[in-house]
């Protein structure tokens, strides 16, 4: 990613949050929303512009599950592992995805196509088990529908 593109974006974020108390996490949310992760060179710039030590930024980024240090896949699949989903077969969904994609939880396929992860609870327990595919929440997912889901993600690009 060329620095020239990033700088104006970051300075907007910095301007918005610099003078607000305790806003580092909010600024990091904006960064992650834009790039899908928190790139190291962006962290360096944030550190400089917001006058926060880089170590403080990494301390925060590594504490919270939501922040990523690696770029996501082109498709992001999250299996909800909340209690209701767990009881209704979420582990089977996760296994099915792992074996079909050939990656473990938290990994991206070598071609960068799919990133697989589990999430704590998306609060859609009444329609468990739930998979979030590229931001869209899918309800009552069955292991048999995983193949179709992967296929659809491929096609939509």
């Amino acid at each position: 990613m060329p620095d020239a593109v990033m700088v104006p974006d970051i300075s907007r974020t910095v301007q918005k949050w610099r003078n607000k108390r305790g806003s580092l996490i909010m600024a990091l949310h904006e960064i992650q929303n834009r790039y899908g992760y928190v790139p190291r060179n962006v962290s360096l710039q944030i550190a400089q512009l917001m006058d926060v030590p880089l170590a403080r930024i990494y301390e925060v980024v590594t504490f919270y599950n939501y922040f990523k240090l690696e770029p996501p896949g082109r498709n992001n699949l999250s299996v909800c592992l909340g209690t209701a989903c767990y009881l209704k077969g979420a582990p089977e969904l996760l296994n099915e995805l792992k074996s079909r994609l050939g990656v473990s939880e938290g990994e991206t396929t070598p071609d960068g196509e799919f990133h697989l992860q589990s999430v704590r609870c998306v609060g859609c327990c009444g329609l468990a088990p739930v998979v979030v595919a590229n931001g869209e929440t899918l309800s009552k997912v069955q292991p048999s529908s995983i193949e179709g889901l992967i296929h659809r993600c491929h096609k939509e690009e």
Binding site: G22, G82, T83, A84, C125, S139
Partner: protein, 547 residues
């Protein structure tokens, strides 16, 4: 829009109410669960059909009425036909509903949920579905468009704030809150008025009000539903709390996993600000207050109040010992009060109708209602709001239809990773903070997971223990080390290599964690283990042999 005075608020309410009373409408539930079930396509189909046929009817996007099992839900009210709630509506059914019910005035019995239309639940603002429910927190969910402040005002929104500002004043608000008996709905159950009183009496250059919307218990989603379906009621509750405690700044700390809730609350804040219900000199009084959103980032421990405050400060969400309590030294060292979403959602109705009205439900030390998210192996999963004192069996069997035919209830789990399992023979226990505690569980934030005979109790305990190990912040040793050891012992037991000596070790680890952990996460993490040992020892015996 110009800033409102209190006379104008009443005028607007009457105006909006009159406008709405004459309209026919179709409502589509478009909360996260509705959308997941396909409600967006249904909504678009209905809008297209209405436009194509040039019908004079409002098509509204509303929040969740709580019947998640039946999503997508569509409710229709037209002149000359009974109000009808349709379940599991697809796009074809949506077209039929417009053609047959809206145009011809003939409801379609085969698609409708029986009994719902007879409840007439809009009458006095308290909605009920399936008998035993009383709707205070969820009174507007599914009835209003959460993105329109006009809908909220038409149903009495901000009347509680008006009464607080003009009739009750600060002391009066505290009196009503005391009379109501409302206790914290996030789980701990501390009397709300007492918390507010501490903040009111505290001194500091600035005070803070925080709404805890970091609903981390996996399996609980009532807070999400309120934020998505009726955001103004949370804002109003916070404003009343700010007024009563002399606070002019508040934060809503919302978990990042709830994008729609964040979006709806931000919209609501903008609208309230534009109307002058947030900001300087609210409703023309000397009271000024501003509220802002802060996002969580996926850490269960941030539901703990001291960790949550660290997170708002932009730091790692690690807890610290109490005292000092937040009312003495909270956010940035200033006096602070924290309540959760459901607690704030109860405030406006209490202020409008009085504490005694609220206390008519419940007894002992638990009053009012509680919302539960009933999920797992249950036929009608969803949100239910019941008066305190309703038995667990009434919730699971009478309201939610029990487990599917051919199965039997084995246990009900409340309180998530901090709670315990309650075996089916104890389901006649009435819901109260103390009652659930006596059973070795807790009220918690309201997750209620139903399990049937196919679910292994040891498996579920392992699930919760794994959860606590992953979510432990690592600051204190009892939680960090104890949790891990408990996991290893459970794995050993599950593999069939365990002994009763391991169970004894596990009990000792539990005791150490309960006594010595820094915060609620570690102190309550042993609850699932201890409650299964108490009620389902036979499952351990099956793996370990006789003692």
């Amino acid at each position: 829009m110009a800033k409102l005075t209190f006379e104008e608020l009443d005028k607007l309410r009457d105006e909006y109410r009159a406008q709405r009373a004459q309209r026919s409408w179709i409502r589509v539930g478009t909360s996260t669960c509705g959308i997941a079930a396909g409600a967006e396509a249904v909504y678009r189909t209905i809008v297209d059909e209405v436009r194509r046929r040039d019908l004079d009817i409002d098509v509204q996007r509303v929040g969740c009425v709580g019947m998640c099992y039946a999503e997508p839900l569509v409710e229709v009210n037209v002149q000359g036909a009974p109000r009808t709630m349709y379940s599991e509506v697809g796009t074809e059914a949506a077209e039929r509903i417009v053609a047959e019910h809206v145009v011809n005035g003939n409801p379609i019995p085969g698609l409708a949920i029986p009994g719902i239309e007879t409840l007439g639940y809009e009458d006095d603002g308290l909605a009920a579905r399936q008998g035993k429910q009383v709707r205070i927190v969820l009174r507007n969910c599914g009835l209003i468009d959460p993105t329109k402040i006009e809908d909220s005002i038409a149903r009495g929104g901000y009347q509680g704030l008006k009464r607080a500002l003009f009739d009750l004043r600060e002391e009066g608000v505290l009196e009503e809150m005391k009379a109501s008996g409302l206790r914290g709905r996030g789980g701990a159950g501390y009397p709300t008025w007492l918390k507010w009183k501490s903040l009111r009496e505290a001194h500091g250059p600035e005070k803070y009000m925080i709404c805890n919307a970091d609903e981390g218990d996996p399996g609980a989603y009532m807070d999400r539903s309120v934020l998505e379906g009726d955001p103004h009621t949370v804002i109003e509750g916070m404003l009343i709390a700010c007024f009563a405690t002399g606070t002019s700044r508040g934060y809503l700390y919302i978990r990042a996993e709830y994008p729609l809730a964040i979006d709806r609350i931000e919209t609501a804040l903008r609208q309230a600000r534009r109307m002058g219900l947030i900001g300087k000199n609210i409703l023309g009084t000397e009271f000024s207050c501003d509220l802002e959103v802060r996002l969580g980032a996926g850490a269960f421990v941030c539901g703990e109040e001291t960790a949550l405050m660290h997170s708002i400060e932009g730091k790692r969400g690690t807890p610290r010992p109490r005292p000092p309590f937040p009312a003495q030294s909270g956010l940035w060292g200033n006096p602070t009060n924290i309540n959760n979403v459901e607690t704030f959602a109860n405030v406006a109705p209490i202020i409008v109708r009085g504490g005694e009205w609220f206390a008519q439900w419940g007894s002992g030390k638990s009053f009012g209602t509680k919302v539960f998210a009933v999920t797992g192996k249950v036929r009608h999963s969803g949100l239910v709001e019941i008066p305190m004192g309703t038995t667990l069996r009434e919730i699971v069997v009478d309201i939610c239809g029990g487990v599917p035919a051919g199965h039997r209830i084995k246990a009900v789990q409340t309180g998530g990773p901090s709670g315990g399992v309650i075996p089916s023979e104890l389901l006649d226990t009435p819901v109260s903070y103390e009652g659930l505690q006596e059973l070795g569980s807790i009220m918690g934030s309201g997750g209620m997971i139903v399990m049937d005979e196919s679910d292994s109790m040891i498996d579920i305990v392992k699930f919760y223990t794994d959860f606590c190990v992953e979510e432990s912040c690592g600051k204190c040793a009892p939680c960090r080390i104890g949790g891990k050891q408990m996991c290893l012992l459970l794995e050993k037991i599950q593999s069939g290599k365990g002994t009763w000596a391991d169970v004894d070790t596990m009990k000792r680890v539990c005791l150490a964690m309960q006594k010595a952990s820094l915060c609620g996460l570690g102190q309550t993490a042993p609850n699932p283990v201890l409650s299964t040992l108490r009620y389902f020892e036979d499952e351990y015996r099956a793996l370990l042999g006789a003692r």
